[in-house]
Symmetry: C2
Subunit: 390 residues, 2 copies
């Protein structure tokens, strides 16, 4: 179950022919008035659909999302902008909505024009086949996959309401959200775009913005939340808190699925930094460790090479310099085993034979903390990315 789990949402995924055989075009909509928000890549190079989403959200609340895989419609110039608008307009016409109520998401190859001759005719059968229920959710999740090996769905139930979501992402995974699309739906009643964004932001910060596969930030990353209030429940501070927690839970679940399905991933590691000067410095250090090729190849080799972790931590860019770290105070644990105690090696070799690893670095300076999820660098990662276009 995913985007169709909350009440009042229908969806579909079809094969438009952008990709050779797989589903590659999806529509998700609220059947009743909805509000929503989006968060987008911060890359200076932004794909046409990203620019269009931002412009549309400034004018209307979003009711629906149309998404394609196989082509990112990025670095496609004016033609890309026109194509994205044409997809939006045709989908809106078929759904009986205003153009700006439909958000357009694309993912796939950069620099090639969107195959409009395939997408436009496929929108009608896609719209005609929209339904609620798990099959429609599954088809949507499949239609947004690119190099993903597994589709990603998540649902959280609150008291009287539901949050559902799907995401895609496997390579070019990095804050902020690189080559990642996520569509989140809920029947919880939210008042406005502003409220949806205020709730979405912290959930994304801890989840989609705290994962890395290869440290690359893409041109298309988008997380969209649609909320239609179809649950009919009356809001209280308690339900509001429950909603925030459900939203966070779905985002965390989907982002963990993205890392686990990272290109060539054989090991998933949680990098927990505590005791930093503040949360932002903890984040900078966790990110530096989680993106270090030397740390990631050591993960692949099941080698508790703590020198690389410490070396990465000591060079985490922060505020024009490096984040604070005193080598004499740090404690480091692999899977709970202390390997470095206040800067001195304990000589104990931790067990790192499993496919899940925890690296905990305590800086003993302040109260700052942050956790990152990362994958290893494997032969398969190199193979996939050396051969992607060929």
């Amino acid at each position: 179950m995913s985007v169709t789990a909350p009440k009042g949402f229908t969806a579909n995924g079809v094969h438009a022919g952008i990709r050779r055989q797989k589903l590659d075009l999806a529509i998700v909509r609220s059947t009743v008035p909805a509000v929503g928000a989006g968060m987008f890549t911060v890359n200076r190079v932004q794909a046409a659909p990203v620019k269009l989403c931002k412009a549309s959200l400034a004018l209307e609340e979003p009711w629906a999302v149309v998404a394609n895989s196989g082509n990112a419609n990025a670095c496609t110039g004016l033609r890309g902008d026109i194509d994205a608008r044409a997809v939006q307009a045709e989908a809106a016409r078929l759904l009986g909505l205003k153009s700006e109520q439909v958000l357009v998401l694309s993912t796939g190859v950069i620099g090639q024009p969107l195959p409009m001759g395939k997408i436009l005719p496929a929108l009608r059968p896609c719209a005609d086949g929209m339904a609620d229920g798990p099959d429609a959710g599954r088809r949507t999740a499949e239609a947004i996959m690119t190099t993903d090996l597994r589709s990603k769905e998540s649902v959280a139930q609150g008291p009287g309401f539901t949050v559902g979501g799907t995401a895609k992402g496997s390579g070019m995974i990095h804050p902020n959200m690189a080559t990642m699309l996520a569509i989140l739906t809920t029947d919880y009643p939210l008042a406005s775009h502003a409220e949806a964004l205020a709730l979405l932001r912290p959930a994304v910060h801890e989840s989609f913005n705290a994962i890395t596969v290869d440290g690359d930030c893409s041109t298309n990353d988008t997380v969209v939340l649609l909320a239609n209030g179809a649950s009919g429940i009356t809001r209280t501070p308690a339900t509001d808190a429950a909603f925030s927690e459900c939203l966070r839970s779905v985002c965390m679940d989907l982002s963990a699925q993205v890392v686990a399905d990272g290109e060539g991933c054989t090991v998933v590691a949680e990098v927990k930094v505590t005791g930093a000067a503040n949360d932002d410095e903890a984040r900078a250090i966790a990110q530096r460790i989680a993106t270090s090729p030397l740390v990631k190849t050591a993960l692949f080799g099941h080698d508790a090479n703590w020198g690389r972790v410490l070396s990465a931590a000591g060079s985490a860019p922060y505020n024009g310099g490096y984040a604070h770290l005193d080598p004499e105070r740090v404690c480091l644990r692999y899977n709970g085993t202390l390997v470095l105690d206040r800067g001195a090696p304990t000589g104990v070799e931790p067990d790192v034979s499993g496919t899940d690893m925890t690296i905990e670095l305590d800086l003993d300076i302040g109260d700052g903390r942050f956790m990152y999820l990362t994958s290893d660098f494997s032969y398969e990662y190199v193979r996939i990315n050396a051969d992607y276009r060929t």
Copy 2:
């Protein structure tokens, strides 16, 4: 020829037993009074020898360098500091110098105590065997190698003087100078530590600080310059300019050798950024491209995947945000072939079949420019780094 090419320098490299079979301990000295300077890693975690070099340079001009491979003496706590001082003191005694006139350099495994029982007794035969001539220079170059496949030597001749140098570095290569040691010598007369540093800094900025293999910054990086004036020439503005150029030439040559010998390297790419808002932004963008795993795996695959270059360029951290880039203005060339013209794909497929590649990105915003050297990410890179300790 390397460090013994200038007049008045002797050197030697021996097998102390830190590494299994290879040469692993070297001494370089000026036989007459010298001045000099060092530049060091900016990592918050600094190896004991780095701290000792800085402290010594604050007290005395350097006359000699003792360097070992096989052990970095990093993350070794107070014991590491004491060990580094003991090596320095024993080498100074054998050479008839003050302790602070001898700089200590270490490279190799992090977190293990220096094997003093092997190093201290090996210092005497090393000192006793010191000589000038190419063989002594070659032995020095070999003794500082770790995972390097080839030793690195370079010499530049000016009018009446010589600059020589050797470097080691293969993995953990990144600004600023990660796991890289370089020893530079010259018989050009320099007045002081301050002058040597002022001349060394720009040469290192363009060379050792403009290369990357894996984006990791180490705990030991050091570049040392010793100048003894033994050429006996009289300085003029013309010889000063020639010296700067010779120093730059040796640094560029050695840093290019380091990248070409990068772990698992099969392709070397020059990343030239022009037209940036300023040189610092050009550097940030070049560095972001040169360190992107997606760009580097594409190099390995001989794939002119310009979308990845553009995506990396658009997310180059600068000054708390991203460096300036207007996607509609950029031109991108692979090996001279225009693939992106003012943001629009030309559709021309460049020839990238060779082992050397040039990626030129013109931003058309300002006059900023910078060039980076980088290597590809190969299966072999993963193998070397997954297995390094085992």
